[in-house]
Symmetry: C2
Subunit: 153 residues, 2 copies
Amino acid sequence: MNATPQWLSPAEQDAWRSFIRLHQKLTATLVRDLQANCKVSGADFEILVALTDTPDGRQRFQDLAKSIDWEQSRLSHQIARMCKRGLVAREECAEDGRGAFVVLTAAGRDTIESAAPHHVATVRRLVIDPLGPDDLATLGRISSRILTQLDNG
Amino acid sequence: MNATPQWLSPAEQDAWRSFIRLHQKLTATLVRDLQANCKVSGADFEILVALTDTPDGRQRFQDLAKSIDWEQSRLSHQIARMCKRGLVAREECAEDGRGAFVVLTAAGRDTIESAAPHHVATVRRLVIDPLGPDDLATLGRISSRILTQLDNG
DNA sequence: GCAATACTCTTGATGCGTCATGGATATCCT
DNA sequence: AGGATATCCATGACGCATCAAGAGTATTGC
């Protein structure tokens, strides 16, 4: 039932390896840039951005996890670390005794407000500008296509 | 000296977020697939593939690190873990007292030979087939472009 | 009511990745 | 030759990601 060739053709292999390599190198570069210039990890940044998206900088654990597609326990560990550094705080949930809120602190807000412009500038320089609008749109379209496939199993 | 707009336009943001999301989800899926079906991590797989690329499954630390673009200490830690599980072994280097070789063991060879076909099939199913040759080539081209930018700083 | 079940979050163990540091050997320079 | 320097690899500390297990609280169904 498997008529497709087992190995990748040279052209497929080229494309795939470029993509994987890009994948690894871009992540490493962006994370390093954030850490060196803004003292936040990629994980910190993602949490802070997600919290900033809500008007009061407060979100239930569950909702936050869903909005950034993280597993519960990963979020729990991450929030524990960020609490220790004062970037966010926990709050109990009145309506549901099991639940809890994550709240952006003043320090957290300061951090993200100074980190975000720097990060955007880096993304522009490394990705958006070298590609130009057409290729960027193509990249977005291709990404969505693969994402759909991933979501369908 | 910064005439470019600070934030991303909605179109830019869409494309960028799709790409990042793809990035994260694809990695997670592939790693999980390898771990669940073949009992190897992504890091294990990368090492084993690189070693298989040489005729005798032996490589100096340094050369291995360069060929997969890893930091030296990352490789050292990884090899230590893989030694413990018997996938590779260390060998001293006669010509250079500081140096060392990493050698594929029989168990390591078995592992990669059973994992590789499975992995290729997954990559086909999730990425190569849904894209088709043209989009795959485009993805490769775009990836190379960004990689060049990364390498130039 | 209340027992069974489901939900929400936490915790501990383990592997991975980076940084800073260090020990050993080789090479270079005078 | 011998000291300075560079190269090669190892190690420890710390943060991050996943998995398995668990504690407390709500909900469901009888």
